[in-house]
């Protein structure tokens, strides 16, 4: 069974477009509009091979999600690629060193090129 690709993005339309683009390439996509929900799924055993993470989200931001992920050894090793409109990655004291960033807007080609490296 292939491992899914997790997408965490609060904008409904963008999430749908991402899921459609990735599905067209044959990926199995687990898409979430809420980082807390995604975290719950991970804690229940979902193991994607990569997490595409938006940063600016209500409820739980991308930074807060990262903090929670890193604190849990079971899910900490799952690689993350950040997709964001922000020009600085640091926010509220959090930083995301060593993480690859896809700056919005990006083409499907750019998306697939990055995702392909983690497959």
């Amino acid at each position: 069974m292939t491992r899914p690709l997790m997408v965490i993005e609060d904008d409904d339309d963008l999430r749908e477009a991402l899921a459609a683009s990735l599905a067209m390439e044959g990926f199995e996509v687990s898409a979430f509009g809420d980082a807390r929900e995604a975290l719950r799924e991970l804690e229940c055993g979902l193991r994607p091979f990569l997490i595409l993470l938006d940063l600016m989200m209500p409820n739980m931001s991308g930074w807060e999600f990262r903090e929670a992920q890193e604190a849990d050894p079971a899910i900490a090793p799952i690689p993350v690629v950040v997709i964001t409109a922000a020009h600085t990655l640091g926010s509220d004291g959090h930083s995301l060193t060593g993480i690859e960033v896809l700056r919005k807007p990006f083409s499907v080609e750019a998306l697939l090129e990055v995702v392909g490296r983690y497959r």
């Binding site: 904008d11 339309d13 963008l14 749908e16 477009a17 991402l18 459609a20 683009s21 067209m24 600016m56 989200m57 209500p58 931001s61 997709i83 409109a85 922000a86 020009h87 919005k104 807007p105 990006f106 083409s107 499907v108 080609e109 998306l111």
Partner: protein
């Protein structure tokens, strides 16, 4: 027995040291009583010296106080400037996010179309188009609204609005706007009650008034928490009164005084899309039309916006 000359010198020196310490025990009576006219003159001279020193000290203290006030004022202005810059930066970050997100969606969707056209069969393309086009259309609308809003802000801050007054019926405008919001009202399953039965006519810029009503209704729907929204239009002797009321999340008291400001950040920018400029633009339009707009609101009890326009 000390000679008179020594006593006089002692007296003078003692007064001088007093004066140096900021005190003086010489009185006008003592000066007048003094039999030796030279001593009398000297004592007066010392008294005047003391007074001049005290006055100089007073001026210096006042100058110091004024300097402190200026320093405090400068401190305060600097703080305000920093706050304004922070607000502007926050706005720019928001604008960047709001514009880039629909652009991202459009980019991906169009890329998918291109891929489907070149690689796959036409059947798949048709399915893709059916699925993607509504989303694409939504992004175009979103971007359009954002761009127009930013253009309005640009115009208002650089030169001001160019209103084109003409005989306009506010009731008709309200009805048109509510109709335009039909789909969203249905989607949110909100009840919108209208009290706009009679024409209310005045010399206003119809397109700009439409914008005001649109912004107020849009906010009422966004922050109305699904509860009913009421709009009423009525005419009074010399003015028109428009009221838009919702029973939603309301506005926190510390923000209420700033909601008509440009970078008000009235609601956490993460919760609701848009640039947060709708109220500011509405305020500018209403003011330029000679009217007033006020907000009455409490957290969780909803908000009532009242617009008054001269007729």
């Amino acid at each position: 027995m000390p000679s008179t000359a020594e006593t006089a010198t002692d007296r003078i020196l003692s007064h001088l040291s007093e004066i140096g310490a900021g005190r003086c025990t010489i009185t006008e009576e003592a000066i007048v009583r003094e039999r030796d006219p030279n001593m009398s003159q000297i004592l007066l001279g010392l008294l005047v010296l003391h007074e001049d020193l005290a006055y100089a000290r007073k001026l210096r203290d006042e100058a110091e106080a004024a300097r402190l006030v200026t320093a405090n004022e400068r401190e305060r202005l600097l703080e305000e400037l920093e706050k304004a810059l922070a607000a502007r930066d926050q706005f720019l970050a928001l604008a960047s996010h709001e514009l880039r997100t629909p652009l991202s969606t459009m980019t991906l969707l169009v890329d998918n179309f291109v891929e489907a056209v070149t690689v796959t069969e036409s059947g798949k393309l048709a399915a893709l188009i059916t699925q993607h086009l509504p989303i694409l259309k939504r992004q175009v609308e979103r971007l359009g609204t954002l761009v127009l809003e930013m253009l309005d802000v640009s115009q208002i801050t650089s030169g001001g609005l160019d209103l084109v007054p003409a005989p306009v019926d506010l009731t008709a405008i309200v009805r048109e706007v509510v109709e335009r919001f039909g789909l969203e009202i249905e989607r949110r399953q909100v009840t919108v009650k209208m009290h706009a039965d009679f024409p209310v006519v005045g010399m206003w810029d119809g397109a700009r008034l439409d914008q005001v009503v649109t912004n107020l209704l849009s906010n009422a729907l966004k922050f109305g928490a699904g509860r009913p929204v009421e709009i009423s239009v009525r005419a009074e002797a010399d003015r028109a009164v428009l009221i838009v009321r919702d029973c939603g999340i309301g506005i926190a008291p510390q923000i209420r005084s700033k909601i008509f400001g440009p970078f008000s950040g009235a609601v956490s920018t993460r919760h609701h899309a848009g640039l947060g400029l709708g109220l500011w633009i509405a305020h500018q339009i209403v003011r330029a039309s000679g009217g007033s707009i006020t907000a009455d609101s409490r957290p969780d009890e909803g908000s009532t916006f009242t617009v008054e326009l001269p007729r």
